[in-house]
């Protein structure tokens, strides 16, 4: 298994670089949103031989018009050609309602039209994109797993499986996390992070605390079924505590069998 750290900005890159030197991680996952305006060759020179994966949060491909998406897709393809990532990943989220931008992303309706939108964006990027499962906020997220199964069946797309998001979704009343493990989806590219209870019994994917035992348990269970991670990014970008982050890397090595 390869372990990665999410690089969202310069501060956590510096920390991840220390983990890399000390042998705790094997690759960086770049949040492309914050680096897409840069020269990818400059990034390659800076990180040397360390492999990278790409993560995209704010492409807003469900909302944006095609001309703006085309410009963005062109940039992403340039990064892909230069940096040869382990995978490219994105989120299936809606950012606007009635054309007005929300302060945070909201869950989509899992229907046929949105499946077509995923197909369109994937075609524009010209590669096999792994889409991350969402930490559903309510039982309305119950259709998510079937949507991912349809993405696999109809488009040949596998998920970027976020273990803690699956736990959070279950706690918020959506699909039991174990159903993802029992599905025929390829869950080998994965994420995990800390989450916490916010207010009104709402659990949120906060990335600001250590990874919870429920998430480790789900990873162990997947691993025992022969479906454990081959890549696992431990996301930490809120209240970034170096000791806690490093401790999660050590824990991850111990939780997953050597593969």
């Amino acid at each position: 298994m390869r372990l990665g750290a999410n690089i969202t900005r310069n501060a956590n890159f510096k920390m991840a670089e220390v983990f890399n030197r000390e042998g705790h991680l094997d690759f960086y996952e770049l949040l492309l949103d914050n680096f897409l305006h840069l020269d990818p060759a400059q990034i390659r020179r800076r990180i040397g031989d360390t492999p990278v994966s790409f993560h995209i949060m704010g492409s807003r491909f469900m909302d944006r018009d095609e001309s703006r998406l085309a410009v963005m897709a062109d940039r992403i393809r340039r990064f892909t050609a230069e940096l040869e990532p382990l995978y490219v990943s994105d989120h299936i989220l809606r950012w606007t309602l009635g054309g007005q931008l929300m302060s945070d992303a909201i869950e989509i309706e899992y229907d046929e039209s949105n499946l077509r939108r995923v197909a369109k964006w994937t075609g524009m990027l010209g590669c096999q994109v792994r889409f991350e499962n969402y930490a559903s906020c309510s039982p309305e997220g119950a259709g998510q797993l079937d949507f991912f199964k349809a993405m696999k069946a109809d488009l040949g797309l596998e998920p970027l499986f976020d273990y803690s998001n699956a736990v959070v979704a279950e706690l918020n009343g959506a699909t039991p996390a174990v159903e993802w493990i029992e599905s025929d989806l390829d869950l080998t590219a994965s994420h995990v992070s800390g989450f916490r209870e916010s207010e009104g019994s709402l659990y949120i994917d906060s990335h600001d605390v250590r990874v919870g035992e429920e998430s480790w348990e789900l990873i162990r269970r997947a691993d025992a079924n022969g479906k454990g991670p081959t890549t696992l990014v431990i996301e930490r970008d809120g209240v970034v505590d170096q000791d806690e982050w490093e401790s999660d890397f050590r824990f991850a090595r111990a939780a997953v069998s050597a593969r």
């Binding site: 310069n10 949103d33 704010g58 054309g99 007005q100 302060s103 009104g200």
Partner: protein, 180 residues
């Protein structure tokens, strides 16, 4: 959530639902984004009670504003800000939001203060893996066309890809949405 939440709609809805909780969180996030980093604007709000942030959000949502980075400029117009300190705060907030937009292939934005055509705030996005975004203050040479007065209320801005290239003389102008 199927419709964009507004403070007045929230007051009419059932507080014991998950939809209410999510809408309330969204609106509180917006309010924090609009007011946390602008102490002078908060002073104006405190002394200008009939025009609250809730009034602003109700109006701007009903008017169909994009709610993007220009929302901060709109707040400045809504409150009738007059002093440069307050305007610099809302302009800086707008720039910070612009810099967080993943689709921006441009690397910098320059915005002129409506109170002083020669004063400019510049936002430069992340410069490398080692250097994050930054906000700079600058003054334009007032002998150039760049500082020509506007015909009406508005905020001139321009964006660019290469930070060390000279600014263009032509500026795009954001004009107040609520007065259109």
């Amino acid at each position: 959530m199927r419709r964009y939440p507004s403070p007045s709609a929230l007051r009419r809805s059932d507080p014991d639902t998950r939809a209410y909780l999510l809408a309330d969180m969204h609106l509180r996030n917006l309010q924090h984004e609009l007011t946390d980093a602008v102490p002078r604007v908060r002073e104006v709000l405190a002394g200008n009670a009939p025009r609250s942030i809730q009034d602003f959000l109700d109006q701007v949502i009903a008017a169909g504003h994009a709610m993007d980075w220009t929302l901060h400029f709109e707040l400045g117009f809504f409150l009738g800000l007059e002093d440069s300190t307050a305007w610099a705060e809302v302009v800086a907030n707008g720039i910070r939001k612009w810099m967080r937009d993943a689709s921006a292939v441009d690397s910098w934005i320059a915005v002129r203060l409506p109170t002083d055509a020669t004063r400019v705030l510049i936002g430069q996005r992340t410069q490398s893996l080692d250097q994050g975004p930054r906000l700079l203050r600058a003054r334009l040479d007032d002998s150039r066309d760049a500082t020509a007065p506007l015909r009406g209320p508005g905020i001139p801005y321009q964006v660019g890809r290469h930070f060390d290239a000279p600014m263009r003389h032509e500026w795009s102008v954001y004009t107040p949405w609520l007065q259109q």
